[in-house]
Symmetry: C2
Subunit: 385 residues, 2 copies
């Protein structure tokens, strides 16, 4: 097994034929690749940690599978800066506005969220907006950074345009995720990390590969009407023909699609407009060039220190009680468990920390070819040693 060569902990394929690779191997590998792209050691470590956190949490579409397409290719093409001139444009004790200098999104986002948490630690709340950044991985990562400081974390980000507004025909909105993390006591923290579309792009890609139809509430065709054909939707959006994902709540207003549309616009306003960023020109989709070119991505980060409102231990006990009460309530027919947001991802993280991250063959092959292109061993590195 070439991928696992030299690693002490890599394990064999799982039942689905995927190779199980230890998280620290992946983290180390990604960090080395980022460094070969000119990223500083600190920034490379952060970007690698965010990527692998997605894999650990089971959000495979946002993990190492994206290393090449979303990040390496853009760094190599010069479309994204490895050592960006990140600038704090303005700052108050509670807020800051940052220009990301078109750098790799993860380290910029990490720095901005840390600043928001530090401000919350000193003043009670902190809010930092970022413009001119790039894709930063999973929003939940940054919201969760608040937890260890006894803060509630909030993270929003603009994304490529994929979502059709209610009664519209063109994808003029992003999947614009909202992430909220809230500390608890003995229970797992509450970690909501949701796109404001009914389904993510990745799920359409999965159905397209399998040749299976999608539920009718997920996407609209080039006339703006609900469709069950994922391949057409993906092509239509990337070629700016029309159609796209539907907002959370589906088509029209009957089942609340206008609410998902409103949430998406809220995220746009908080990330792009408060930071003074600009929108991607949706008349020509950023992915239409074939690659996964990303636009001027903007983020919003917030932190509220719980102690500003009430003693943390009281709050944590109340969280435990609320979450337990919810989970102990009666289940729907055929169901045996009620989950709290983030719970499945925490359990998946435990499993994957123990067993390794399962990667399908094409992803392993892609990482192997990156290893050879960059002359980086695909083995346990020194980053986490």
């Amino acid at each position: 097994m070439k991928t696992a060569k030299g690693t002490r902990k890599a394990q064999g394929p799982d039942s689905a034929g995927r190779t199980l690779i230890p998280a620290d191997v992946l983290r180390s590998f990604c960090g080395r690749v980022f460094r070969k792209c000119g990223v500083s050691e600190d920034d490379a470590r952060i970007a690698a940690d965010v990527l692998v956190a997605a894999d650990l949490r089971g959000i495979d579409g946002h993990g190492v599978a994206r290393l090449r397409g979303f990040y390496v290719d853009r760094l190599r093409a010069g479309a994204m800066s490895p050592r960006p001139p990140v600038q704090v444009l303005s700052e108050t004790p509670l807020t800051a506005v940052i220009d990301g200098g078109s750098g790799l999104g993860h380290p910029i986002a990490h720095r901005a969220m840390k600043l928001a948490i530090d401000k919350a630690g000193a003043a009670g709340t902190g809010f930092v907006v970022v413009r001119n950044s790039n894709h930063f991985g999973i929003a939940g990562y940054y919201a969760m950074m608040a937890l260890d400081s006894g803060c509630i974390g909030l993270c929003m980000t603009s994304t490529n345009p994929w979502v059709v507004p209610t009664f519209g025909r063109d994808a003029v909105l992003g999947t614009n995720p909202i992430a909220v993390a809230v500390p608890s006591g003995r229970q797992r923290p509450f970690v909501l990390d949701m796109s404001t579309s009914a389904a993510p792009v990745g799920k359409l890609e999965v159905h397209d590969r399998l040749g299976s139809p999608i539920p009718s509430g997920w996407a609209a065709d080039e006339r703006g009407m609900p469709t069950t054909a994922p391949g057409e939707v993906l092509r239509n959006v990337r070629q700016s023909v029309g159609g796209g994902l539907l907002p959370l709540g589906g088509a029209g207003e009957e089942t609340g699609g206008h609410k998902g549309y409103g949430l998406s616009l809220w995220v746009d306003i908080f990330s792009v407009l408060l930071s003074g960023g600009s929108h991607v020109d949706f008349a020509r989709h950023p992915e239409s060039a074939g690659g996964r070119r990303l636009g001027n991505v903007c983020h919003f980060f917030g932190a509220w220190r719980v102690e500003t409102f009430r003693p943390l231990c009281e709050f944590q006990a109340a969280m435990d009680e609320l979450l337990q009460r919810l989970k102990a309530s009666r289940k729907a027919e055929g169901q045996d468990r009620i989950y709290v947001a983030g719970e499945k991802e925490f359990e998946e993280t435990d499993r994957r920390r123990r067993d390794g991250v399962p990667l399908p063959a094409p992803v392993v092959a892609d990482l192997q070819s990156l290893a050879s292109e960059f002359d980086v061993a695909f083995s346990t590195g020194a980053l986490d040693a």
Copy 2:
């Protein structure tokens, strides 16, 4: 026409046979009724204004139709205090925690939101949580209070338990609304005011009265399975048999129901847990006693001063551009307009300010009987003179 007796501006019935009553007549009437219930003049004026604002915006289910059931009955029964001992329990330059003293919700919420806006004016952001309050009408009203101060407003509130969590069977969550208001320039402000359920209780009541089925994504039966029978759902929840509204996104996870569930829980955490409030005992529904008894309602209010991030005029121009661009994008087949959150309600307000608020006969009869019970003329009063 008895309802219009003594009024200068009341107009005849509209095409649906509803009586058109000027907003100031309703406002004055509600204010006088609240005062007869022992509410102070200032508080009565605020409560009346919030109620009639709902009617003006076309959110009829939250307007004067609720005057008796939601407010007067509880004030009379002593379950809600007309002159509550509202207390600021703790305060920082940015935050405050308020105990509402079990008073009428509207004046408490108004005071709390004003405090948040004042704090944002001085410090940049302001957040105020309230416990031990009552139903406060439409959340959007308070979010919109931020607009004139160049602030973005946020408002959340807990409500009676009506919503079944994903994979659950019992209504353990409220319809927990989120309202966000953002100032713009020449365009109408963005005003998102949404419950986190797929549909509100009121819509089930309408379908029940008409004897028509509801869409399958709105509600769950007593086994926790999707149902199209609204009457059963209403009875089952009120009798604590099981079932309830589905979260935004519908049943299960396929169309994102777990996201609506997560949003609802977010609202619960921000309003109930940050304020140190307590939850309604969902094992016995608050409405099961026959009346519309409400529980210990908690609210969350936030304000961000735009100038803390960038010049207001720049931000407003960017808002105008974004909203115009969205509205100018192509429409779905059969649609001729894309709306921005709040736009329909602003236009309805213009219409109803001009033509009067259309009230169906049972609501008019109810107001007439309140007029006689309280010996208050149902005519233009002095409140707004």
